[in-house]
């Protein structure tokens, strides 16, 4: 996807977006509601056109997918896409037939797809009688039944409980481990850590694109160490320590230092404090949550935008 732009009635929803997805990986498209995630995934699947830019999926432009390529793709829309009056296995069977799977091969495929999402025991239950979470899993089974190479999954965990969300992600990672490529949108920032690559989108623009660990580092400029001392400490103590990029003081006996390499700098920092006659009561590397990472990156992005506007 390169330099892709999409506007609705003059309002730009996706702005100059570029990224690549490596085969056999999960790309998480993360962003708040209305940030352009669904528009992005719909352009990738060819269900929505674009104003500018290029998109290639399995070697073809989504606007002109051949039947052969369509058969290698799966799309799980965000909108409800089940037939309420059909049972779980009938819903999956319908999608299997849409992909040209004949009745003899279909039975085993349906069973396998339902088994994967743990709905085999509920295969005779009508879709309308399944819980919200089960319906979402059933939609996933529908997307999997034809054994696709590339899956586009729009908000698979929206509206389902945390335990089930984890189960869905377990399943997505299992699919990845089978060599499939997945593009998954989510508004739950914490789910970014399940992905191999994360594209953080805000107001249609790509704020960051990297693996989860690199994003953490990008957000905070390095590793974060939290140091607790036995008496009040001056943050200036660490100002001259090589490799320490910034120091904050959340409390009189607490320092939060961003460092280039936590492993190498931990003993150096302990020594610098000890030399000042202060005891180190505790020191641990902080793992900022993705909510914190996301917030930090968004704030940085907005600061850049506001700075640019101010300079302009």
């Amino acid at each position: 996807m390169r330099d892709v732009t999409r506007a609705f009635e003059g309002r730009v929803v996706v702005d100059d977006l570029s990224f690549e997805v490596s085969p056999g990986t999960i790309l998480g498209v993360v962003g708040p509601s209305g940030s352009g995630k669904t528009t992005t995934i719909r352009m990738l699947t060819g269900t929505l056109g674009r104003n500018n830019g290029e998109i290639t999926v399995l070697g073809e432009d989504p606007m002109h997918f051949s039947r052969r390529v369509r058969g290698r793709l799966a799309y799980m829309p965000q909108l409800f896409s089940l037939y309420e009056d059909l049972s779980a296995q009938e819903n999956v069977g319908f999608v299997a037939a849409l992909y040209g799977i004949g009745p003899f091969r279909r039975t085993s495929r349906i069973k396998r797809a339902l088994d994967v999402v743990d709905l085999l025991d509920s295969r005779h239950v009508l879709a309308r009688n399944l819980s919200g979470g089960m319906q979402r899993r059933l939609e996933l089974a529908c997307a999997l039944v034809h054994d696709p190479e590339v899956l586009f999954i729009d908000e698979p965990t929206a509206g389902i409980d945390p335990i089930l969300r984890e189960a869905v992600w377990d399943e997505l990672r299992r699919l990845r481990s089978e060599g499939r490529t997945l593009v998954v949108t989510t508004q739950y920032v914490s789910e970014a850590e399940y992905c191999d690559q994360v594209a953080l989108i805000l107001d249609g623009e790509l704020v960051a694109l990297d693996n989860p660990e690199a994003l953490r580092r990008l957000a905070f400029g390095g590793d974060v160490l939290q140091i607790t001392t036995d008496r009040p400490v001056d943050p200036g103590l660490l100002a001259n320590v090589s490799g320490v990029q910034s120091v904050r003081q959340p409390g009189p006996r607490t320092l939060t230092a961003t460092v280039s390499d936590a492993g190498a700098l931990t003993p150096v920092i302990v020594e610098a404090i000890r030399v000042a006659g202060i005891g180190v009561a505790g020191l641990e590397e902080q793992q900022p949550t993705f909510d914190e990472v996301f917030t930090e990156l968004v704030e940085q992005s907005r600061a850049r935008t506001n700075g640019g506007e101010a300079n302009g």
């Binding site: 060819g46 056109g49 369509r70 793709l73 799309y75 896409s81 037939y83 849409l98 040209g100």
Partner: protein, 394 residues
């Protein structure tokens, strides 16, 4: 093979969905059938006679016995009274106490002898056009009889008057013959003289078939368009022809099954004659279903919500009741409106089924061509529209 599987996917899905909601079918088919049954049982086919009052002015030489006038238009008029006070009678008409008021002219016989035409006033107080027509018919019968009576009275008073008109032979002719020189003898050449149920049965049947096909098709695609299904179809290797054929076959099967049940009830239970063969009957039903499905699919491809699909289906039903010949003959409409009427599949359906079932042969064979043409045209339009819908959104 892949295409057949894909078409089959829609057939299977649609059949299952419909079977899972039997209430929809029951209300669509059994509802109109039950109404027709009740209508047939409740409606005798004979309208109640008009409650009539006749005013014969003082000095006029006409009979004043109500029984006498009742015999002039039997079954159509119930002469309640023969009086002389026209104003009071008119008041009763305004109050709805009587249906018809007939006021005979003053001294009609004298006027006739002097070569002047007199006027009989007939008044009624009704807005229903069907009632007006019937009242007019009953009145013309009564007025004709009254005229005869006036002439007869004149002839009895002086045969010489008639001799002046008819010559010397009139002297041998009885006055009532002079008054009524001709009589009518009627004969119906149709192979059957159907009762109300038999006549309206094929029409209701055609209406049920069209309405069933339209509603089934109309809601199916609307739901899919408004859910995530359409995006799934856009991504899946399925094309608009496969989708449309699947829908046509599925709904065609359902409609035919329902037609079989309703047709069986009509013939077997209600005793509607089927003078033509079953095969041709099935053929007409197939054509009607094909054309009606086209309308339903077109509605589903243009409606932007289920509510709008319901509204459009109801508008179509209403138009069908008024313009299809179900209530009023198509030939009664202005020419431009007849084109609208013939564009409704049910118009051809009613005519073809009535002719096939009640006459045993289709006389207006051109209607078969029109029905097929409507079906093919609607299929083509639906296909073009569906291609646009399935195409990547702009």
């Amino acid at each position: 093979m892949g295409s057949l599987v894909r078409i089959g996917s829609f057939i299977g899905k649609e059949l299952r969905e419909v079977i899972r909601r039997p209430g929809v079918l029951l209300s669509t088919v059994i509802g109109p059938f039950a109404i027709m049954l009740i209508f047939g049982l409740a409606y005798s086919g004979n309208r109640a006679p008009f409650l009539t009052e006749i005013i014969i002015p003082e000095g006029t030489n006409l009979p004043r016995d109500p029984e006498y006038y009742a015999d002039l238009a039997p079954g159509r008029l119930l002469v309640q009274d023969v009086g002389t006070d026209a104003d009071a009678a008119e008041e009763r008409l305004r109050d709805g106490d009587i249906d018809l008021l007939i006021i005979a002219p003053e001294d009609a016989v004298t006027e006739l002898r002097s070569g002047h035409q007199t006027t009989i006033r007939v008044l009624w107080n009704e807005i229903d056009p069907v009632y007006n027509q019937l009242a007019g018919l009953a009145t013309s019968i009564l007025v004709s009889s009254l005229n005869s009576q006036i002439i007869e009275a004149a002839a009895e008073e002086g045969i010489a008057f008639a001799e002046g008109e008819l010559g010397p032979a009139a002297a041998d002719v009885p006055p009532d013959v002079i008054a009524n020189p001709t009589t009518a003898e009627t004969e119906n050449l149709a192979p059957t003289e159907p009762d109300v149920i038999s006549f309206f049965g094929p029409a209701v049947f055609a209406l049920i078939i069209q309405h069933l096909a339209v509603t089934l098709a109309a809601f199916s695609l609307v739901r899919e368009r408004l859910s995530g299904q359409m995006d799934r179809f856009r991504v899946a290797p399925v094309n608009s022809t496969e989708l449309l054929l699947g829908k046509y076959v599925a709904f065609g099967v359902i409609s035919l099954a329902m037609a079989g049940i309703v047709g069986g009830l009509l013939v077997g239970v209600l005793g509607v004659p089927l003078l033509g063969g079953w095969l041709a009957f099935v053929g007409i039903v197939l054509l009607l279903t094909f054309a009606s499905l086209g309308i339903g699919l077109l509605i589903s491809l243009f409606a932007d919500s289920e509510r709008q699909a319901v509204q459009l289906s109801m508008i179509l039903l209403l138009a069908s009741v008024f313009f299809s010949g179900f209530v009023l003959p198509v030939t009664d409409f202005a020419e431009w409106a007849r084109y609208l009427a013939y564009a409704l599949p049910v118009t051809e359906g009613i005519a073809l089924l009535q002719e096939h079932m009640l006459r045993g042969e289709v006389q207006q064979t051109w209607m078969i061509g029109v029905l097929a043409a409507i079906g093919i045209l609607l299929y083509a339009i639906s296909l073009i529209r569906l291609r646009r819908v399935l195409r990547t959104a702009d």
